[in-house]
């Protein structure tokens, strides 16, 4: 199967959709890079001037009315503590400080996780489309039939296609994650070389990057499998878009109890190593009034991993069974 997988990988590389997808990723990453730079760079002279002017104004107000402002704050806090003993209005930190005006200096642990998450969604989306096109085009053109007259062992044929998509997607995901990490590191080195790097940050970031790569590979695999199952790229994309709109959009909005099982919740839980979601809880008070409030519920990393693994395994198993038995035109 290794030889077949190598051939499939060559075909994947030679496809126009793959090239377009890679270019799309590069353009997307370039936009993200611009955003990173914009976020990391210090304020311009005029922005700094405006921030200093705002600070001076606040400072003057504080000097003139600071005591009164602090007393009002403490009074309010004391009122609040009658019902909530832990209420903290931050009265001791009210005095304006220059560092709070303007822009904080960039730090890796503040910026990288969000950047990696954005890149993971972009690359996973492209991997899904490219994976779907890879197998869908073969079925639609009838070339699969020709292929099977050269290699009739269907499981080998299927396996080689999926291996090619998974390895291609994983390499692309790894390169994209590497680019994001390197770009942030260079920007932080340039604009805040003295930034403190917390212990274990690199292993945390490597873990997140690894999960992003795995997500990309899974997305490519899902695209290829779904396209084989439905026999057309457009059908695979249509089913996914339909699912996202109907189930993850309309139904999840109506039934918030579905949220722990949604793909978007669990993809987030996978990438962030756990996440939370808002659950609407509605009650009728003793006085008869009806009210709802949103309660945050945690989703563990294990839960997200299990849900995603089950969905992928089910799609794969169905594809294997159908591909083995189906008549090929």
């Amino acid at each position: 199967m290794r030889r077949l997988a190598a051939v499939e990988l060559r075909r994947l590389r030679a496809r126009r959709l793959t090239v377009i997808g890679l270019l799309g990723i590069l353009v997307g990453l370039a936009f993200m890079g611009y955003g990173m730079w914009d976020q990391a760079r210090p304020l311009t002279a005029s922005q700094r001037q405006a921030a200093t002017a705002a600070y001076n104004q606040a400072r003057q107000d504080w000097l003139a009315h600071g005591d009164q402002m602090r007393a009002d704050c403490l009074a309010g806090q004391a009122d609040a503590r009658k019902t909530d003993p832990k209420a903290d209005f931050g009265c001791d930190t009210m005095e304006p400080r220059l560092e709070n005006y303007g822009k904080p200096r960039p730090r890796l642990h503040d910026l990288v996780p969000g950047g990696l998450e954005g890149a993971a969604y972009l690359v996973a989306f492209v991997a899904f489309v490219v994976g779907a096109g890879f197998t869908g085009a073969e079925v639609a053109s009838g070339a699969l039939g020709t292929w099977l007259t050269f290699e009739p062992r269907r499981l080998r044929v299927l396996g080689s296609k999926l291996v090619a998509v998974v390895s291609g997607s994983a390499v692309t995901g790894a390169v994209a994650a590497g680019l994001v990490l390197t770009t942030w590191w260079l920007l932080v080195q340039h604009y805040n070389p003295a930034a403190h790097t917390p212990g274990g940050l690199w292993s945390t970031l490597a873990g997140q990057a690894g999960r992003a790569v795995a997500l990309t590979a899974a997305a490519g695999l899902a695209g290829a499998a779904l396209s084989l199952l439905l026999r057309h790229t457009a059908a695979a994309l249509g089913v996914v878009i339909g699912y996202l709109v109907v189930v993850e959009g309309l139904l999840a909005n109506r039934f918030s109890s579905l949220k722990p099982w949604l793909l978007q919740t669990n993809v987030l839980g996978w990438l962030r190593h756990g996440t939370s979601y808002g659950l609407d809880v509605c009650t009728v008070a003793p006085d008869g009034s009806y009210g709802c409030q949103t309660v945050q519920r945690a989703i563990s990393f294990g839960h997200s991993s299990l849900v995603l693994a089950l969905v992928l395994a089910a799609a794969l198993a169905l594809t294997v069974v159908v591909f083995r038995r189906r008549d090929v035109a």
Binding site: V7, R10, A14, S141, G142, A143, G145, L148, T149, P152
Partner: protein, 316 residues
């Protein structure tokens, strides 16, 4: 004709395939027993929808048979198809390749998949006259070029058995002749060629033996001369001045007779003199009495006459 397994390139017994459609189940192949001897060109004939393509797809493992058994060079298929597929080259219906890739790249992928050296790609492209257009995209090829590329792909394996399904569909006369010469040449070099077609003249010119199917069943099989001879005994063309009276006289005499233009065709005759005797008895004298030599087309039409296969619900 009784063959031993070693003498057969292809053998099927009781092969059956049905398809589910909106209107219910449609029988495509109904208990087909087919023997294709090793070496030479074997025509696989049948009207559109008679089950030729489905049978070929089953042999190649593309379609699952509902019942029956098949062997290719003595290997039961599809179970042991991987062992024998390297000896089989096939073009099923239209040639199908990756349209955005060049002919050369398509062949390179196939060559790599079966571990054939890349040099073979250039060889088969030259052999099929595609050397200069090998780097053009497959989608830009004419139908004839696509067919030639498909032949080139089958030659990558240096196969002992070649299966061509309707190979001349859509080709111009030059292309048809080219394919015919290719098949003939392969047969003469000792390879087995199975060519399915509904164009009789095409097969008659190249085939050594034929199998004729209808409704997914075998109707006749054997060397071309035997099949023609077996179906055409005793057909006589009779020319007479009063055709209608002669027609009535012969019918009353219990002969199978039908008008054919200004003449009559009498079938199943042991002795043509019987016609002249009966007609002369009624004062009718023949001006023409010719034994009709059958061709494959007339045999085919006679075997499949009255069969509206599509109306009968036989799917292709």
């Amino acid at each position: 004709m009784a063959w031993t397994q070693a003498e057969l390139a292809i053998s099927t017994r009781g092969l059956r395939k049905t398809y589910r459609t909106r209107k219910g189940r449609r029988v495509a192949v109904e208990g087909l027993d087919l023997d294709v001897p090793v070496g030479g060109v074997h025509g696989f004939l049948g009207p559109n929808g008679s089950g030729k393509t489905t049978s070929i797809r089953m042999l190649l493992g593309l379609v699952r048979a509902d019942a029956g058994s098949m062997t290719v060079f003595g290997h039961p298929v599809p179970e042991r198809l991987p062992e024998v597929i390297g000896r089989v080259g096939a073009i099923v219906e239209q040639p199908k390749f990756f349209p955005a890739f060049s002919g050369r790249r398509n062949l390179e992928l196939l060559a790599d998949a079966i571990g054939t050296p890349r040099a073979a790609v250039a060889e088969v492209l030259e052999e099929t006259g595609l050397g200069e257009r090998g780097n053009d995209r497959f989608r830009s090829y004419s139908l004839g070029m696509k067919q030639r590329l498909a032949v080139a792909a089958t030659l990558l394996k240096k196969p002992d058995l070649l299966i061509f399904d309707e190979p001349t569909n859509g080709l111009d006369p030059a292309g048809i002749r080219e394919i015919r010469d290719t098949m003939r040449g392969l047969g003469e070099r000792g390879r087995t060629v199975l060519v399915s077609s509904h164009i009789l003249a095409e097969v008659e010119q190249v085939a050594d033996s034929v199998s004729i199917i209808g409704h997914g069943r075998l109707l006749a099989s054997g060397p071309v001369a035997e099949v023609i001879g077996g179906q055409s005994a005793g057909v006589v063309r009779v020319g007479v001045d009063d055709r209608d009276l002669a027609h009535r006289v012969l019918l009353e005499g219990g002969l199978a007779v039908r008008p054919d233009g200004p003449d009559l065709l009498v079938e199943g005759l042991g002795d043509p003199a019987e016609v002249t005797r009966r007609l002369a008895h009624h004062g009718l004298f023949v001006n023409q009495l010719v034994t009709v030599g059958a061709d494959l087309e007339s045999v085919f039409l006679s075997l499949t006459s009255g069969e509206d296969l599509r109306a009968a619900g036989v799917a292709r």
